[in-house]
């Protein structure tokens, strides 16, 4: 369970997040939506201790962010940030292999190699395994990054706009994998999505943010409505219900 209590964050004097309170139960896919600049990335960065917490408190299971040993947390929670600067000269297999570092600390075992192979297989990267990252397309590179996060094999997975650069096949396949992780392995997945339709189709729960605050939390049916989209995104697309799933007409 991730519990965020009275979390506020400032950069300089500008308030970025204000009094965030949020509880995410174990197991399930939570989609984080909101306009650009709402503070979604900042919230994920704080949960994943990429940025030190200023005020408030975050706990993941019995680990308190900022107080627990960082290498223990690395075996519990993984994040794929929105902007990634990849080191040069890495092959896809080497990059995915880093996902196992929290367990082997530089000395991979047979089990680690097997998990890397499985991650490569899952994201259809096996044919590209020995290619250098800089020789791949943006979407292929993104898939390799997601595979590394997958190989980290943690109970909690935070993904910041992972569908960037992915084509429809890769996007749907990633979302299906995430659903499966949540359903059959009771993993907790928090994912920032820009495409509301993906959120409505694949998430158990949607959290909507605006100007550094959470404005609504609930099931896709409750959140994806004309009124809420108008309120959060300041635009008025039409929402349809198709086979029980909400769909936004763009």
């Amino acid at each position: 369970m991730i519990i965020v209590t009275d979390l506020s964050h400032k950069i300089g004097t500008a308030p970025i997040l204000q009094d965030i309170n949020m509880t995410l139960e174990k197991g399930g896919v939570t989609a984080l939506i909101g306009p650009n600049g709402a503070g979604k990335s900042t919230l994920l960065s704080l949960i994943a201790r990429l940025v030190p917490i200023q005020t408030g408190r975050i706990t993941v299971d019995d680990l308190t962010i900022g107080a627990c040993p960082t290498d223990v947390l690395a075996r519990t929670l993984a994040i794929l940030p929105q902007v990634i600067d990849t080191a040069p000269l890495l092959s896809v297999r080497e990059l995915v292999g880093f996902g196992r570092y929290p367990y082997h600390k530089g000395r991979p075992t047979a089990e680690d190699h097997a998990k890397v192979d499985y991650a490569l297989e899952t994201f259809q990267l096996t044919p590209l395994a020995d290619r250098r990252l800089e020789t791949l397309s943006g979407g292929q590179r993104q898939r390799a990054q997601v595979a590394m996060t997958f190989a980290q094999d943690t109970d909690y997975i935070l993904l910041d706009e992972p569908l960037n650069n992915l084509d429809i096949a890769a996007s749907r396949s990633l979302m299906a994998i995430l659903r499966d992780l949540a359903a059959t392995h009771s993993r907790t997945i928090v994912i920032v999505l820009h495409d509301i339709n993906y959120a409505a189709a694949y998430a158990d729960q949607i959290v909507a943010m605006k100007s550094g605050q959470i404005v609504a939390t609930g099931s896709p049916e409750a959140i994806v409505t004309d009124r809420l989209l108008q309120d959060v995104f300041q635009t008025d697309p039409k929402v349809h219900c198709l086979n029980g799933k909400m769909m936004v007409q763009v």
Partner: protein, 314 residues
């Protein structure tokens, strides 16, 4: 593939060492060999210290253009020696035991490097131009203060500074060599034990944190090792502006890999070949008295310009 190349480099270095020790030795071997042996050890220490410090620095700053020398680390060491001579007087300074003197200089260097570069590297991370500018300003500033102090010191004492910071292989004290070897070995062991963590740190701070490494801590540990290694190399041969850049760029070409377990030995071997082989060719084959450092710096400076022009940061 990489291990084969490392073996070839090691063989080549062996050849250079043999040539350097044995070729053109006339007369009394019992005299020539220890003399050349000491010089050889100094060359090897400097070579490995420079390449390792450069690899560490490039990893924690995540770029392939900046080196400790370009950022003014060497100049800082010379400045510290100058300040000490100025404050204590050359005679007092010389009377300090060589080992004590060296350890003292290195400690001061450590403190100064952490104070000056620790916060810079945290704040300017990712901003290559700001780092280059700050580095150049640091280097110029350190040299200007050094120059100023040296003008105020009388010429006899000035010679003390030259002896203790620009030895240029002319006069190598066995005692200094021993302490330099001990420090270098300690720094190398620490670096080797960090090699897997360095691989992770090279991915960038966010990725490192996600994998459970503390980038801040890694950076400070690396800075400490760099300060020790720069002290050793500067005390033995004086500042070398572009040597580190040259040998590490070559290492990236000959063994292109992100793994520090390969990159560190590869850069060290290439660096040793450059110094020992270069010294051998200049001294024994061409019979020139041009200091090797001058040649290395001219070539390395060219590489720096090319890298800068091509805008190849990583």
């Amino acid at each position: 593939m990489h291990s084969k190349r490392l073996c070839l480099l090691a063989l080549f270095l062996g050849g250079c060492i043999a040539g350097y020790l044995l070729l053109g030795a006339r007369g009394n071997w019992a005299f020539v060999l220890p003399f050349r042996g000491n010089k050889l050890i100094a060359l090897l220490l400097v070579a490995i210290a420079v390449s390792t410090a450069t690899v560490l620095f490039q990893t924690i700053t995540q770029n392939r253009i900046l080196t400790p020398a370009i950022m003014g680390f060497d100049a800082l060491y010379v400045l510290i020696v100058t300040i000490l001579v100025y404050l204590l007087g050359g005679q007092v300074f010389l009377q300090l035991p060589a080992v004590g003197q060296f350890v003292f200089n290195t400690t001061l260097m450590l403190v100064a490097a952490l104070a000056l570069f620790g916060s810079l590297l945290t704040r300017a991370r990712g901003d290559l131009m700001r780092m280059i500018l700050t580095g150049i300003i640091f280097a110029v500033l350190f040299r200007a203060i050094t120059d100023f102090l040296q003008r105020m010191i009388d010429p006899n004492e000035y010679a003390v500074i030259q002896i203790s910071s620009y030895a240029r292989f002319a006069r190598i004290e066995v005692e200094l060599l021993a302490i330099a070897s001990v420090l270098t070995c300690a720094a190398l062991i620490a670096t080797w034990r960090m090699r897997h963590r360095l691989d992770v740190l090279a991915l960038g701070p966010d990725a490192a944190i996600n994998l459970g490494e503390n980038p801040q801590r890694g950076m400070f540990q690396a800075l400490i090792i760099i300060a020790v290694l720069v002290s050793v190399s500067t005390a033995l041969v004086g500042p070398m502006a572009f040597m580190g850049l040259l040998v590490v760029s070559l290492a990236h070409m000959i063994t292109p890999t992100a793994s520090h377990a390969v990159l560190l030995p590869s850069a060290a071997l290439i660096s040793a070949i450059t110094l020992v082989g270069g010294q051998f060719v200049l001294e024994r084959v061409l019979g020139l008295s041009t200091p090797l450092i001058v040649v290395v710096d001219v070539v390395g400076g060219g590489v720096f310009l090319i890298l800068l022009m091509r805008g190849k940061r990583r």
